[in-house]
């Protein structure tokens, strides 16, 4: 037997989660249509181009958060259906590496989702995006999805074995991700130039997103193992 490094466990878990997603197509066949519908329904509800352009950033991130719950629950359902998460625990696998593998896989799925949502916002809400705005937006998506990946994996693990986890997860997760919603919305509004916002105004919010990701990355890697174990 060769020694197993943390990076090998991370890559094994990451590839496993992405392979399962590619095969089951839950993201493409269920989550993306759901998120798209959320954008369309907001457009119907507000029915005003000026208002839609003003709130486009917030709607993109609200749709991301709603979709996050589905993706997190699916991510842990594949691990708990036949006791695989329990097997990882029993086998003495480094659970902090499992945390990072699952969080990165979750972030990758969220990036794919946000690419579609941003394109949807550009089409439906007719917002503008220049080159500087695009750079800010890409940075915002990467930082926000990384943070959401960490916090989603931590709370997904916490609720994985709980009774009523379908309702418990949003209840616990929504208040915690409020800073991401606020910061990512402000940064996206700056990228879109909504309400006369300047692109440069968005970078301060990127700092908040980075701190959020760092806090939940470190905290999650420390807490995930004991949470799963107990």
């Amino acid at each position: 037997m060769k020694s197993v490094t943390k990076s090998k466990v991370i890559s094994a878990v990451l590839l496993k989660d992405l392979r399962i997603e590619l095969r089951s197509r839950v993201l493409t066949n269920q989550v993306l249509p759901f998120a798209g519908l959320v954008l369309v329904m907001f457009a119907f509800a507000l029915d005003n181009d000026d208002v839609l352009q003003r709130v486009a950033g917030g709607l993109v991130w609200l749709a991301t958060l709603f979709s996050l719950f589905i993706i997190v629950q699916r991510s842990f359902a594949v691990d708990t259906t036949d006791g695989a998460l329990d097997s990882l625990r029993v086998a003495g696998v480094d659970l902090s590496a499992v945390f990072f593998g699952k969080a990165i896989a979750l972030a990758v799925k969220l990036v794919a989702l946000d690419v579609v949502l941003v394109c949807g916002a550009l089409l439906l809400y007719r917002v503008d995006l220049n080159l500087n705005g695009l750079v800010l937006l890409v940075t915002c998506v990467i930082c926000a999805t990384t943070g959401l990946g960490f916090v989603g994996t931590l709370y997904g693990g916490l609720t994985a074995g709980a009774k009523g986890r379908e309702t418990l997860l949003p209840l616990l997760l929504l208040p915690v991700v409020a800073p991401v919603l606020i910061a990512a919305t402000r940064a996206t509004e700056a990228a879109f130039g909504s309400g006369g916002a300047q692109t440069s105004e968005g970078w301060a919010w990127i700092g908040l997103l980075t701190v959020f990701a760092a806090v939940f990355g470190v905290g999650g890697s420390l807490a995930f193992g004991p949470l799963i174990d107990e």
Binding site: K2, V9, A12, K16, G83, S87, R89, V90, A91
Partner: protein
Amino acid sequence: MSTPIMSLKNVTMQFGGVKALDDVSIHVNKGEICALIGPNGAGKTTLLRACAGLLPINRGDARVLNCDLRLDRYAVRTKVGLLGHANGLFQDLTVAENMSFWSRLVGASAQDVAQAMSVMGLADRLSETRVANLSAGQRRRCALATLIVRRAQLWLLDEPHAGLDTQGRDELDRTLRSAREAGATVVFASHEIDRAQKLATRCLTVSGGVVSES
């Protein structure tokens, strides 16, 4: 002289006010197939999970594969393979992909994987079949193959025959005998006395948290 691989002395485990294990003292030697026979709720699962390092021991001494479970119950986890009622497999992945996943986690080679799949009769067309499409018996074999890949020295199996038809049960018995011949020690829980007695080299009766020789 036989080597003790699992040694429990006056072990007591209590949940709330209920004693799940009461002053249990047992020894299991290397190469044995040891059956824990008893009705539901007798304490079989608690005993297996404690030996796998999943539950803390309240009182007594317990050593499994040279690991002191009172001092460090986490160390034993990489050495034992616990298979409960679930198989611990990913339904959307094929048999080969499940095996590959486990081999990467434990640093096993492709040769180890091929050997484990061959021993369990999974090397043919089944290797590319999704686990969700396998029969209950085939899933069980796949789960046992992951224990081989992990080089588990002690197999702790909780009701391994549950959910299998007669053919699947016979197949599982043959598999466990082969595993024993290959050097593994097996401790399994069962409430089917006849089958357990045919398979096991030694039987222990578990009742009300008390373990005694059959």
